[in-house]
Each structure stands twice: as structure tokens, then as C-alpha cells.
Symmetry: C2
Amino acid sequence: VKTPQELLQGLSRGNRLALARIISKIENRSKDLGELLGALYPLTGTAEVIGVTGPPGAGKSTLVDQLALEIRNQGRTVAIVAVDPSSPFSGGAILGDRIRMQRHFGDSGVYIRSLGTRGAHGGLSHATKEVVMTLDAAKFDTIIVETAGVGQTELDVLKLAQTVLVVLVPESGDSIQVMKAGLMEIADVFAVNKSDRPEADKMVKELITMVGLNPHDEHSWMIPVQKTEAVRGIGVGEILKSIGEHQEYLQRSGKREAKAEAFLKGEVLDILKERLQQTVADTWKTHSGAEILRALLDRKMDPYRAARLMSGEGS
Amino acid sequence: VKTPQELLQGLSRGNRLALARIISKIENRSKDLGELLGALYPLTGTAEVIGVTGPPGAGKSTLVDQLALEIRNQGRTVAIVAVDPSSPFSGGAILGDRIRMQRHFGDSGVYIRSLGTRGAHGGLSHATKEVVMTLDAAKFDTIIVETAGVGQTELDVLKLAQTVLVVLVPESGDSIQVMKAGLMEIADVFAVNKSDRPEADKMVKELITMVGLNPHDEHSWMIPVQKTEAVRGIGVGEILKSIGEHQEYLQRSGKREAKAEAFLKGEVLDILKERLQQTVADTWKTHSGAEILRALLDRKMDPYRAARLMSGEGS
């Protein structure tokens, strides 16, 4: 068993085994996680964190892999975190990760890791946040967090990114659907992928119109809309350029710090919630916890009063 | 402004306006919610709570409306809660609810309400739980909670149901996809809807095989697989019969109380989490909160230490 100090030393020397160990500890909510991540935190703060989302079949993974290749061509390192709240599976050993790594075979400047729920009830966005902190501390220049769909967990995950790329395909349809899915609110850059398809230009036009309809002034970020064909690598450089411009915009406008604040406030809240959850689970196991539960089941006590009792406030 | 007492009196007299007021208070996290729901809780415990989920386009709403008609034919009352985590819209006044109500026009034994996120960050499953408690206290015999997709919020919402009906269509595809979506784990009854389509029998067979592959003994509930054509009302009675059998199974096996325990534990935890969130949000606004945030941004303090400080534990 390695000590947190040894793991951190390994991490800063670029040791992939140390990195994998720390990520496992995050997933398993290891006892020494507080100590480990507390010590790791001062090493963070240099990575560019990009979120990528879009409907299933939009070609997100292909585009992300192409972005990774292009980032490597520019001499920067990149880590990809693929978050799938509908999958219980996690881990570098699973097939999907290995297939994807083949594109970057032998390149130690690329790291790919998938994260599933693994029964970590509601904790996936918390775990993702801590994995991103770890990759940041490991000095990856760019961290791409890729997520499918637009459920609450996915939106939570995207909140930890500085720049969010939303990938659509012409078939993913009309503007109303895009609005409904809430993608408009979270997008910093739009990619219209598979842009060789008919309807691509129509969709680009619609998106540009929608962007223009959003309330804005001369200081606003106008979401760029880029056509891509990820399988052929077309448009990938333009996407990276747009992402770079958005990063500069964040810096210039002071919004980078605002995002860092939101990230940190979220992390502190997640830590406190996790501790609360543990405390409450422990209380149910005690004699007085069992009594409260019995009274609840018999409707002699209501959940609000039980909550007051469990937080030590008396009845 | 009505007092909680007046609202509760209205609720137990079947007053729909009182019901709507209480649900609005739940959505708006009104200050007197604890008092109101605390007083309401002793009135709960008689409703049968059914969850319905499945992929988009499976015909869930149509099937739910048919189930409601059939339940009414049996002389029982029914409330439908349509939960959509991807929609910010809630409320009885919205178009969807009104269109659906037309099928049950003039029938005070049916109540339909949709719930969206309304910015209630992460709180949708909590709000849904409290809406179900309210409808239970209003003495609806059956409460159907309908949700789309299989994101974390949807799964949380379904946990509050006693019986979960999963609606699939032949096109929703092969067993692997069903497994991946985690539907197998949560289903108590399967409906293969639009069963006039080719492939329906194949899908039914696959599902039955999958059910049989699950570890089970003579005391296990074997998930029934029913063919339905919701638009023509075919198979609806059989679904209701299966749901009834599952309810009897829960009673007989003692699992009904286990589900009630899980529901109550979840509700108490949600209440405590909501209070924690409020306390933490208030702390950030104080002078010492601002100092902690600055130290975090400057990486002179880590989030774990900040969490300890904010919970009053000292450094």
C-alpha cells in the first residue's frame, strides 16, 4: 500500500500507475481521500478543462479523439474523461477505453479514462470533479470531459468545465428540440458534425439565428457554430481555435475566476453532503435511529421532525 | 394567504385548489413547507404508487392514460405525476397537462400534474417525493409517476414507487441495450407496447429469457412481460392485473415495508441535504466565507479543509 505522499510524488513524476491508483481511490471513496486530495489540490489550477456533450450518435467520441490528436500535434498533453451516468462500469481496463487508446498507442501524452456510476449513488459528478482535479495536478495541459445526454448528472458534470462544446448532427433536429434539451444554455461552442449530410447548412443557419436571438451586448461571448466531419478530421482545427478564443474570453472577462469559484463551492458542498450522507446512514443503525424509523413507519413522527432530531436539534 | 391548517382541511375535503397550492409550495420550497408536510404526513400511507418509465417514443403517456381510464372503471381514483428532468416547465397550467386532462374531462377522480426542474438544482426527485406524499394524503387510490429516460434523476424518482412498469417497443432494440440502460434492475413489470409491429414476439421472448436468467428462487418475483397496444387499449387490463399481483407480492413478502423505509430514509436525507445547502450558501456570503473562498482560489487552502471549517470543526 502506497502512502498519499508516495502517490503524489508518483503523480507529479508522470507515473500512470499512481494516477490510476488515485482515480480508483476516488471511485471507491477511500478513507484517506480527504488527505490525498487536500495535499494534491495546491498542484492544480493550470489545466484547460473542456466539456463535450451532445445527443447519442452525434459522433462525440470520434470528434474528441480527433481533438486529442490535434492537441498532441500542437505539443500539448491531453486527458479524456468519458462520463456515462447510465453505465455501472468504470475503469481503465474496460474494452471501450482500450479501443480508444489504440488511436493514441504508445503516446504517453494522452490518457483516457471512463467513469460510470458503480453504484456511487448521485456521486458521479462529485467523483468526476475530483478526477479532473487529479488530472490537473498531474499537469495535463487539456482535460476533456465527455458526457452523453442532458440529464441532471450530465449537466452537473459539464458545470465543471471552463468551455463546453456541444456536438449536434443535422438529424438531431429542429431548434425547438435544442432549446428544450437545455443545450443552448450550456454551449460555448457548437459543432455541427457529419456536416456532409444534407440539412447541415440549414442547421448551421438555425443555430446562428438562435445565438443571435440570445440577449447580448458587445461584451458577450457569441457562440461560434462550426461544421465538422470528425471521421475525416475536417473542421477539428477550427473547433480548437474557437475553444482557445473562448478560454481567452474567460480570462479577459474575469469569468474564469467566476467558474473556478463555482467549481470550488460545488466541491466543498459535495464533500459536506457526502459526510452528511455517511453520518445519517450511521445514525439509522443506532438504537435511536431504529426508534425514529419505527415512529416514521407508524406515522407517529413526520420526516421533518425526524430530520431535526437526527441533526441533534431536539424535537 | 391560507394557513397550513386550512390547506390541509381543503386537501382532505378533496379541494383541488388546496392540492395545487400545496404542490406549488413544494416546487417553490416555501418557508412553511416543513410545517405543512409534517402535518400532512400522518394522512399518508394508503396509496398504491406506480412508476412508469421507458425510452422516448415508447408510448408511455398513452399507456398511462389508458391505465388511468381502466383504474377509474374499477371505481378507484388516480393521480398522474409526469416528471421531466430535461424540462424547466412545471405546473397544471401548461399545455401538455391540459391536453391530457381532456381524456378525463369532468372526472374529478383523475388528477394530472407535470413536474420539471424549474431551476430546483438536483431537487426534482425530492420534490416528486413530496408531491407523491401530498397526493397520498389527498387519498388518491393510485398514484402513477411517469418519467422519461434512465438518467440518475429518473432512477431516483422511480425508487419512490412500489411497482415499476417499464414500457418498451420492439424497435427499442436488443437485450444488450435494455441491460445497459439498467431497466432490467428496476422493472417489476414489462410492457412491450406497439405490439402489432413485427419483432414484438421476438422481443417478448428475449425479455422472458432475460428474466429467467436473473438469479431467482421460488420466493422471487418473476417479472411478467405483457404485450400492449396502448392506442387501442389492448393489454391494459393485463398490465393492471400484473401490477396488482406485484402489490400483493410486496405485502406478502414484507417488501412493502422495506420500500416504505427506503422512501422515508430518502426523504429525511433530502430534507437534511436541502438545509445543508442553504446553510453553506449563507456561509459563502459572510466575511469568513469570503476569506475561505479567497484562500481556496489562491490554493492556500484545500476544499477538504474548507469543508471542515464550514461545518464548524476548526481547521
